[in-house]
């Protein structure tokens, strides 16, 4: 009797436990309700956000097509595709969804194909169940257990060739709480291509097995061809919009140092993980067979270039895309070009200050010279001798209270116009460097030296045009 009572109690407790467990979101939301056919999109489009709050059965119909298409201007290639384009169709489902996957191999195809979805838990990621001969169709189903952004690809041997021909795409498994709303979502996928001919060689190019094995691609491109995201094909947004990029790398071999020139990713979800993102990222590494998504607000209008920051891929092999942002400029965020000044690296021999020269006004008085000379000094001299004239110990001699200058206007003029090299003692310290000769007009030399002689405790002499004409070494040369 006692035993029975205990059992009853236990059962009651169990029941209580069950009834308590039932209302948790996990239990309710993993129940499959209804059925829908997945909306699939070609890059750079992304299917709409999932707004339903429950798991459902999703039917995905993906057709494999082998077809000739454009790889670059005048260059075509036989792509093997999931859905007719490279990359393959973007698939968007929700965590907990049950997916019924139909892989259809078009009868015109020559090859058997299958699909390995990295979002699938199970041997081969679906590959084992989906090997499909041309003219046939395979069906398998899986439950989306883990949220995240995943690559899918063909995994039929030789897998490297199937992938090299463009058989990859992205599948997004939204977490139960959904994806936050943004103004634009784009789909970008990088891949490397190996052709018989060199980059740019015209006509239909066959796959080069040798180059693929050597991992020496002729093309590294976004979305299946050079120029797929440039010019009229550029991604577009308006100033102030939030943009989310879903970026995958199909490979087969190269990883991507993905970067948008002039943008900082506000958030990056590395490896396609939906857990807390990293903030303020410049360049994000995406492995072959991996993905990441990133968000940023476009504050400044203009064209932003997307690259694989392994830069010869961007500039020589095609890994370049554009995001064009329209809207009014905001000078406080980005000024545009304010000035164009001559850059003066140390140790060079001849400088032509063409820009300043063209506009140089002439001084009427000593005060004018000092005033005009200050600008010339700051443009040409301050980088080394400093705006305070103190120079840099052991590198650049001081001009302030410099014994070298005292009563030595001809030497100063010679130094500015002809340069200086070798040992020099100034105020008791030895220097051994190079000062370039300056292509300054007589007026400018007079002004800048007058400024120097009247600053930082120097004597206050005026250097005149006549002085300069008399002592200058290099005649004025206008290079343009």
């Amino acid at each position: 009797m006692k035993k029975i009572k205990l059992l009853a109690l236990g059962a009651a407790l169990c029941m209580a436990g069950l009834t308590q467990a039932a209302p948790t979101p996990k239990a309710t939301s993993s129940k499959i309700t209804g059925q829908e056919t997945a909306i699939l999109t070609d890059a750079p489009a992304v299917p709409p956000r999932i707004t339903r709050k429950h798991a459902t059965k999703v039917v995905v119909n993906l057709e494999v097509k082998e077809l000739e298409g454009r790889l670059a201007d005048g260059v075509s290639y036989t792509f093997w595709t999931f859905g007719g384009k490279v990359p393959g169709k973007f698939i968007r489902i929700r965590e907990g969804d049950e997916v019924e996957f139909h892989l259809n191999n078009h009868p015109d195809n020559k090859m058997p194909h299958n699909i390995d979805l990295h979002a699938v838990t199970g041997p081969g990621g679906g590959a084992a169940a989906s090997l499909t001969a041309p003219g046939h169709s395979s069906v398998f189903s899986f439950k989306a257990l883990n949220p995240g952004l995943y690559v899918y690809h063909c995994a039929t041997a030789p897998v490297a060739m199937h992938v090299a021909n463009g058989m990859y795409g992205l599948i997004l498994v939204e977490p139960k709480e959904g994806m936050s709303k943004v103004d634009h979502e784009f789909y970008v996928m990088q891949g490397d291509f190996y052709t018989q001919g060199k980059n740019g060689e015209q006509g239909l190019q066959a796959f080069s097995m040798t180059k693929a094995i050597d991992e020496k691609p002729d093309y590294v491109v976004f979305n299946g061809s050079a120029g797929s995201l440039t010019g009229d094909n550029a991604l577009k947004a308006k100033k102030g919009d939030t943009v989310r990029l879903y970026v995958g790398v199909g490979g087969p071999n190269l990883t991507s140092s993905f970067h948008v020139i002039g943008e900082i990713f506000d958030k990056v979800n590395h490896e396609g993980s939906t857990t807390s993102p990293d903030k303020n990222v410049q360049t994000t590494m995406i492995p072959a067979g991996g993905a990441a998504y990133m968000e940023f607000k476009v504050n400044v209008p203009g064209t932003y270039i997307m690259v694989d920051h392994s830069l010869t891929r961007a500039f020589n092999k095609g890994a370049l895309g554009m995001l064009k942002v329209s809207g009014d400029e905001d000078k406080t965020l980005y000024s545009g070009k304010m000035t164009d000044e001559v850059y003066l690296p140390e140790g060079t021999s001849m400088r032509n200050t063409g820009v300043a020269q063209a506009q140089a006004p002439t001084a009427k008085t000593k005060a004018d010279r000092i005033k005009l000379g200050e600008g010339i000094y700051n443009t040409n001299c301050a980088a080394c001798h400093q705006t305070t004239g103190v120079g840099v110990p052991q590198a650049f001699p001081p001009l302030a209270k410099a014994d070298y200058l005292k009563g030595a206007k001809p030497a100063a003029i010679k130094a500015v116009t002809g340069g200086l090299q070798g040992k020099l003692v100034v105020n008791g310290s030895e220097y051994n460097g190079v000062m370039p000769s300056w292509s300054l007009s007589d007026e400018e030399v007079a002004n800048v030296l007058t400024y120097i002689y009247n600053s930082w405790g120097n004597d206050g002499d005026e250097v005149t045009l006549e002085d300069v004409k008399q002592h200058r070494i290099t005649p004025v040369k206008h290079e343009e």
């Binding site: 082998e66 020559k110 299958n114 003219g135 046939h136 030789p158 066959a206 097995m209």
Partner: protein
Amino acid sequence: MKSKHSTFISTLVLSSCLFSAVAVSAEDMVRVEDMVLVPEGSFTPFFLKKDDITNSSSVATTAVDAFWLDATPVTNRKFQAFVNKHPDWHKSNIKKIFTDSHYLEHWQSTQGSADSADLDKPVVNVSWFAAAAYCEAQDKRLPSTDEWEYTLTDNDRDTENLQKQIMAWYSVPNKELPTVRSKPANGFGIFDMAGLIWEWTADFNSYMAPPDSRNSGDKNLFCGSGSLNASNLSDYAAFMRYSYRESLKGNFTGKNLGFRCAKDAK
């Protein structure tokens, strides 16, 4: 699916045939009608057979006995003659378990016969069952995969060029099929082993693990595991041939899938 069909060859009649053919032939290659005697030899198979999988030692060469092989794939003309003689294999009569729905679908005339322009092109859209039945009706059989692969290797006469030829075929989309014998024969005197169509073999899926890898260990052709027991990892062409065969079932047909027949030499 192992081939279990019998060949019904009358050894006596056949061998007398052979000897007379050998006697009259002035060429190196021995021919009877459209068949060529492929001499015995050996080759390095691309994958180990299922039977060999337990044997983990490195890949050995496989010996192949001499056998007769059709010099070209079976043409529409020949298959039409077969269908006329054996109406069970007409596209309107064929039993559903022997084919998928595309059987002879390129034969578009109302009578379900081959287009006259296609007569010398290889017959395609035939299932393994139909191919095997055709060969049997000629007192022949489908070649084994070993025989077929051995013939393709052509005694390694020009392996690199052969691979290129195959890869070139793989990398262009489907076009109109050419007629058989459009390109030179290989060293054995056999035409169209590469660059025309896929071909059925008697034991087309005997090399592979079952299509579900869950109970096959790692010996299958998916993804990286495909390279585990291959003999030449850079032979992409062979990878594709084997995975193509792996994707087939006996009732499948394909726009690029035909066959030729073989016969024992003795």
